[in-house]
C-alpha cells in the first residue's frame, strides 16, 4: 500500500519534472492541428510526412540555432470548434512555438483568428479558402497552399486563351465549390469579355449519383465546364465523366483532377482528357531536385508524394530558414524573417510573399491521359504557371482586406 503510494507520488513528480526536460528551450516545437481521421486524412498525412522528412534532415544537420525541430499533432476530426480548442491546448499546455494545419477552411480561419489574438505564428498547410490570406489575413497567418482565388486565376490563365466561349459552372454546394467556380468564371470573363455564362448547377456535398445533374447541362450545350468539387466529390464526378464520355461533348477543367490522390484512387477508371491544375506532380518537372525529393519520400514511406507532401516540406523549410534568419526563437522576429523569405523546394525556389503571407507556388496545368508506366492516369501536356502570373496582386489583396 505504502509502496504503491510512493510509486504514485514519484510518477506524479516525474511528470512535473518531465515538462521542462522534454520540451524546454532546447527544441522548437510545431503543433499540427489537422484532420487525421476520416476521408480528408488522405491528404493530411502527406503534409505530415513531407514535414517529417524535411525536419529529419534539418535535425540530423544539427537543427536550427542549435535546437531540434519537434512536432506534435492533434486530430480535429474536420470540426472547426474542435480545431480551435486543440490549437488553444497546444499553445497553452504544450507551449508550441508555431501552429500549423488544417485542411478545413473554417477550422483554419478559427485557428487563424486565435493566432492573431495570441500573436503566435500559424502556417496554413492545406485549406483553400481565399479568405485565409485575403480578407481575413493578418500578421500572424501564412499559407503554403494555393487558395480558391489562385485556382480561379490559374484556370482563367489557361482557359481564356483557348477557343471556348460558352461556359457553365457546376460543383458541390459548399464554400469551396462556389468559390472556385465563381473565381474561375470571374477571372475568365475579365480577360475574355465575349465569354458567356450559360448557367450553374450545384449539388449537395458528397452526392454520389451525378448523372441527373450533368445531363441537363449537356442539353444546354456549353463548350466549357468549370468544376467546383473537392475530395470525394472529385472522384464521383470523374467517374461519371468517364461513364458518360463527357470529354467528347464539353471541355472540362477541375482543379486537382490531375492530382495523384484522385487519379490513383480511380486507377484505370480515370477519364482521359480532363484538364486540371495542381501545385505538385511527382513526375513533373523532371528536375534533379524533384527526383531527389521523390526518391527520398519513396524510400521513407514506400509511396510517391502527393501535393500535401510539398506543402509540408515547404512549411518545414520555411520554419527552419526563418528562425535561422531571425537568429532567435522569437515570435515577432520569426514573422519578420518569414516575410519575403525564399526557400528551395522540389518545384524550384519558393518565395513567401511579404504583402499577404502567401507562398508563391508554381501551378501545373495538365490534361489526364493513360500512361504505360503507371497503373493510373497521369497529367500530359503539362504547362507550368509561375506563382507571379496567377497569384492575386498585392493591390487586389489590400483592396479586399479593407
Amino acid at each position: 500500500m505504502k509502496k504503491a503510494a510512493i510509486m504514485g507520488m514519484s510518477i506524479v513528480l516525474l511528470g512535473f519534472l518531465g515538462v521542462p526536460f522534454s520540451f524546454g528551450a532546447a527544441t522548437i516545437k510545431v503543433g499540427f492541428v489537422d484532420t487525421y481521421s476520416g476521408p480528408p486524412s488522405v491528404y493530411t498525412f502527406d503534409v505530415l510526412d513531407g514535414f517529417k522528412m524535411a525536419i529529419q534532415t534539418i535535425n540530423e544537420k544539427g537543427g536550427v540555432l542549435g535546437k531540434k525541430i519537434e512536432f506534435t499533432t492533434r486530430d480535429e476530426k474536420f470540426k472547426p470548434d474542435v480545431g480551435l480548442a486543440m490549437a488553444k491546448e497546444l499553445v497553452m499546455k504544450e507551449e508550441v512555438d508555431i501552429l500549423a494545419g488544417t485542411i478545413n477552411s473554417s477550422a483554419t480561419l478559427a485557428v487563424s483568428d486565435f493566432a492573431k489574438r495570441e500573436k503566435i505564428p500559424f502556417i496554413c498547410t492545406f485549406a483553400k479558402s481565399e479568405k485565409i490570406t485575403g480578407e481575413m489575413g493578418h500578421r500572424y497567418v501564412f499559407s503554403v497552399a494555393e487558395n480558391t482565388r489562385m485556382i480561379g486565376k490559374a484556370t482563367a490563365q489557361m482557359i481564356a486563351k483557348k477557343p471556348y466561349t460558352k461556359f457553365w459552372v457546376a460543383g458541390e454546394d459548399y464554400e469551396y465549390g462556389h468559390a472556385v467556380g465563381e473565381a474561375s468564371w470571374r477571372y475568365t470573363k475579365a480577360v475574355k469579355p465575349e465569354a458567356q455564362l450559360l448557367g450553374q448547377t450545384w449539388w449537395k456535398v458528397g452526392e454520389a449519383d451525378l448523372a441527373p445533374y450533368i445531363s441537363p447541362i449537356l442539353q444546354a450545350k456549353p463548350d466549357m465546364l468549370f468544376m467546383g468539387t473537392g475530395g470525394v466529390g472529385n472522384l464521383n464526378f470523374l467517374k461519371l465523366a468517364k461513364a458518360m464520355d463527357l470529354m467528347k461533348q464539353v471541355g472540362i477543367i477541375l482543379h486537382t483532377s490531375i492530382e495523384l490522390s484522385n487519379l490513383q484512387a480511380l486507377g484505370q477508371d480515370g477519364p482521359e482528357g480532363v484538364m486540371g491544375t495542381v501545385n505538385y506532380l511527382f513526375y513533373y518537372p523532371g528536375t534533379p531536385e524533384n527526383k531527389a525529393f521523390v526518391d527520398e519520400f519513396r524510400k521513407l514511406y514506400n509511396r510517391p508524394p502527393k501535393v500535401g507532401a510539398l506543402y509540408g516540406y515547404a512549411a518545414a523549410q520555411l520554419i527552419a530558414r526563418a528562425y535561422q534568419k531571425a537568429g532567435a526563437v522569437d515570435r515577432e522576429k520569426f514573422i519578420t524573417a518569414m516575410e519575403g523569405l525564399t526557400v528551395d523546394s522540389p518545384v524550384g525556389k519558393l518565395e513567401m510573399r511579404a504583402c499577404d503571407h502567401q507562398l508563391m507556388l508554381p501551378m501545373f496545368f495538365g490534361v489526364t491521359k493513360k500512361s504505360p508506366q503507371y497503373e493510373y492516369l497521369i497529367a500530359g501536356d503539362t504547362v507550368t504557371i509561375p506563382g507571379k502570373d496567377y497569384l492575386p496582386t498585392c493591390d487586389e489583396i489590400l483592396k479586399v482586406r479593407k
Binding site: 454546394d173 448523372a211 470525394v232 464520355d245 486507377g267
Partner: protein
C-alpha cells in the same frame, strides 16, 4: 412551347430515366430496411453501414478477381452474400437475444453498430477512396432521342424490376414470406401456432441486409467507395420508408419513386436547388398522409 411539348422533350425523358435508375438503388436498399422494420420492428440505422460494407466488399472481390468484367460480376454476386453473412452473425449473436427489449433499446443498439461498422471499415479498408471498375461493355453512353445516357444507369433500370418481382414472389408466394407477413401483423399468434419465430426473424433480417449489400455492390461502379457513404443513404432510405408507410415494401417502392423522380426533375426546373425537391416532397406527403402513403404495418 406548350407544357405538354416541354414535358415530352428528350431532355425531360432522359431526366425521368435517370431518376428511375436512382430509384432502383434507393428501392433496393429501402425495401430491405422496410422489410426488417415491418417484421422485426427494428429501425435498423446500421442498414446504411451494411450498404457501405457491401460496396467495400464489392471493391475487394473485384480486385481479387482482377477487376474487369469477371471481377464486377463476382462482386455483385459475392458482396451481398458477404453482407448477409455479417448480418447473420450479428443477428444470431446479438439481436436475437434482445427482441424482448423495448424498441428504443434496439434502436440505440443499431446506432452503436453504425459507429462500430464505421470504424471496422476504416480498420479493414482504410480511409482511402476506392473505385470499382465498370466492365467495358457498360461504359460509355447510349443515345436516347439524341441525348447521351450512361449505359450503366440503363442496366440499373433493367435490374430494378427484376428485384421487385423477386421480392414480390418471395413475400407472396413462399412459405417464409407468408409467415413473415403474418409475423408482421401479429407475432404472438405466429409463435402460438408453433412456428419458430426466432428463425423467421433471422431469415428476414438476413434477406433485408442482403438487399442493403446488393444496393452497395450495384452502386459501386458509378460512385466512389468511401467512408461516410452510409450517412446520406440511410437518411434517404428512412425518409423513403416513412413516406411509403413503415414496413410496407411497396410503400418503399413508391417512396423511392417519389424521391428519385422529384430529385431528377427538380434539377431540370431549378438546377441550383435540385437537392431541395425530394425533401419538399417528403414534407408534402407527410402533411397529407402522416402515416405514409400505403398501409403501415406498425
Amino acid at each position: 412551347m406548350s407544357f405538354m411539348e416541354a414535358f415530352c422533350s428528350p431532355g425531360v425523358l432522359c431526366q425521368i430515366l435517370l431518376g428511375l435508375s436512382r430509384t432502383v438503388i434507393l428501392f433496393i436498399v429501402a425495401s430491405g430496411l422496410s422489410l426488417i422494420l415491418g417484421v422485426l420492428r427494428i429501425p435498423n440505422i446500421a442498414h446504411g453501414s451494411l450498404y457501405m460494407i457491401g460496396a467495400f466488399m464489392a471493391y475487394t472481390v473485384s480486385r481479387v478477381f482482377g477487376g474487369g468484367t469477371l471481377g464486377y460480376w463476382m462482386a455483385v454476386l459475392l458482396a451481398p452474400l458477404g453482407v448477409a453473412l455479417v448480418s447473420f452473425i450479428i443477428e444470431r449473436g446479438i439481436f436475437s437475444r434482445l427482441y424482448e427489449r423495448e424498441h428504443i433499446m434496439l434502436f440505440l443498439l443499431t446506432f452503436s453498430f453504425v459507429l462500430v461498422f464505421g470504424d471496422l471499415v476504416k480498420l479493414v479498408w482504410g480511409a482511402e477512396y476506392r473505385s470499382v471498375s465498370m466492365p467495358g461493355f457498360f461504359q460509355g453512353s447510349i443515345r436516347i432521342l439524341g441525348l447521351p445516357f450512361p449505359i450503366y444507369n440503363f442496366i440499373l433500370l433493367l435490374v430494378g424490376p427484376i428485384v421487385a418481382v423477386v421480392l414480390w414472389l418471395l413475400v407472396n408466394k413462399t412459405k417464409i414470406g407468408k409467415i413473415s407477413r403474418a409475423a408482421a401483423v401479429d407475432r404472438e399468434m405466429v409463435g402460438a401456432v408453433g412456428i419458430n419465430v426466432s428463425l423467421v426473424f433471422c431469415i428476414v433480417f438476413v434477406i433485408g441486409c442482403f438487399l442493403a449489400g446488393l444496393g452497395g455492390a450495384l452502386v459501386s461502379p458509378i460512385v466512389n467507395v468511401v467512408l461516410g457513404m452510409d450517412h446520406t443513404l440511410i437518411m434517404e432510405a428512412f425518409l423513403i420508408v416513412i413516406i411509403g408507410g413503415l414496413g410496407n415494401i411497396w410503400g418503399a417502392l413508391l417512396g423511392a419513386l417519389i424521391f428519385g423522380l422529384t430529385q431528377s426533375l427538380g434539377i431540370l426546373v431549378w438546377p441550383q436547388f435540385g437537392i431541395v425537391f425530394p425533401y419538399a416532397a417528403v414534407i408534402v406527403v407527410l402533411s397529407i398522409r402522416p402515416t405514409g402513403l400505403l398501409r403501415s404495418t406498425w
